[in-house]
Symmetry: C2
């Protein structure tokens, strides 16, 4: 749906701020607690955290992350799920979110209603409270930025740092063709998998794959090493080749380093017991220049999604 | 400074994302902790909160909240301080913030550097850690949205609800002419005052004045009452009339309800001891229709800033 209309009676300008906010609270329904724990005061009040917390922020922007072909509900789901995927990558559990909208006064009320209803449905599914937000006017634009607060679920938070030379590289799901296949708004963030992986001591480092594996893996790679990827082991989405899997981006899968010394068969057995329906692939290892396998892919030949280029 | 340039070598497009993020971390300096406690991982890790937390989000948008006449440093300060003012209104203390930027690829690197350096300076002054963020491309636009996390400092969080008929209405500072005078980017958020006020049991409800007192007071007004404002008691900024004080907006002052039974002289003495340099004015009370003073202003005749109109 195109988000804009030239009919003022169908646009947000018809209502003004106060009526809009009242209505948004209705659209969000039980996904948004009552003030002061939700929308309606200067800040939202949150309960004390039990342990360490995690925070992340990601937007969806019209013309960039979604377009007229995407239903507003799906755009909203994508917004929340992108952030949930970041949380999954550190083994966290979602708690609360705030939403900042910058929109043209010509934005359709119908578009906005669908967007908020989609956000609410997704938030309820993942037990995220939408506790606050802001709506500001921005000419010719529609951008939504969501800040997600989560909690660490175990004694350990897995970061991008910690992989060692020799560690195996694993990835969940399949890669490539996310935009073409609609995966970029239909995906399920790997929250349960992320929490489980964070509890396994053998998992040394983890992140989500959002800009394409070739680019993202750079952040996980230890010093004096390079990812030696076995092309045949890459889990390709139907219709995708190796280049697509490495560079398309928006996969929202988890990639992690498994300690070299791990009993890999035992690990995979435990994984399949926990996640019988989530594919897990060992796609290579972090190798030094000396022992870099001759048949492995050189990721320097591939470029993931580069922002602001 | 105009934020955009047609010279690609002077714009963010010259660097691309990775170099930009490395540089932003340098610009932020000590205002941004190291990953995973700051920028550089999928989420930022925050220490457990000691008590209840507060969260708020507010943007600054080019052409709306700042323009070419405003230095980028001042735009960034305004962004953080707007959010700090919301926190002040509930008696909170700032902890951490994340920043979402949506910008045109033509954005000047020099503009961006000044913006981040301004944000960092203001964050250090108020002890806010800039723990994360996101930069996304948005054609022809420049919007920055900041989410601020704070902590409740006392046993009580003051909300907008709680005022009773008969309670006196107080406001800090002076009102009106914020845009004309430059107050909208030079103001100091009333954090210390807000914390102090939240500790006084006689303060029943509080909020910050951002859209103009006439509009904002509606949220503080108890049922079956109206604010009876004494025009002569309104603290006017030099050159402002009553209408300006009630409707200009962007005052970033605190307005609160003081319980009717309070020893007002004692309260004012304690205030002056705590804040000898912050003006405090009693501007009226919440009155019922029956005892509405004949000389009081009827705020229905005044309209504060209406968004999306």
């Amino acid at each position: 749906m195109n988000p804009f209309t030239n009919n003022p009676r169908e646009s947000v300008a018809a209502w003004g701020e106060e009526k809009l906010i009242t209505t948004i609270r209705r659209w969000l329904g039980t996904a948004s607690p009552r003030a002061p724990f939700g929308i309606g005061d200067d800040c939202a009040v949150l309960a004390p955290s039990r342990g360490r917390q995690l925070i992340t922020v990601d937007p969806v922007i019209y013309g960039r992350h979604f377009d007229d072909a995407i239903a507003p509900r799906a755009a909203a789901e994508k917004l929340l799920k992108r952030n949930l995927s970041d949380l999954a990558a550190m083994g966290g559990q979602p708690v609360a979110a705030v939403l900042a909208l910058a929109l043209d006064a010509r934005t359709k009320l119908r578009w906005l209603e669908q967007f908020y209803r989609g956000l609410a449905a997704c938030a309820r599914r993942h037990r995220v409270a939408i506790v606050g937000g802001d709506i500001a006017q921005s000419s010719g634009n529609l951008a939504a930025s969501l800040t997600l607060l989560g909690s660490a679920t175990g004694p350990r938070i897995v970061t991008r740092r910690g992989a060692c030379r020799g560690d195996a590289i694993f990835v969940t799901g399949v890669l490539g063709g996310s935009l073409r296949s609609g995966h970029h708004f239909r995906f399920t963030p790997r929250l349960a998998e992320g929490r489980w992986l964070a509890r396994q001591r053998e998992v040394r480092a983890m992140m989500d794959v959002s800009d394409g594996l070739a680019k993202d893996l750079r952040a996980l790679t230890p010093r004096a090493a390079a990812p030696a990827i076995d092309a045949a082991a890459l889990p390709l989405r139907a219709g995708c080749d190796v280049r697509a899997a490495l560079t398309d981006g928006e996969d929202y899968e988890l990639v992690f380093a498994l300690a070299r010394s791990t009993d890999r068969d035992g690990f995979l057995r435990r994984w399949r017991r926990a996640f019988p329906r989530t594919r897990l692939s060992c796609i290579g290892r972090f190798a030094s220049a000396k022992d870099f396998p001759s048949g492995a892919l050189n990721l320097a030949d591939y470029h993931g999604y580069e922002h602001l280029r």
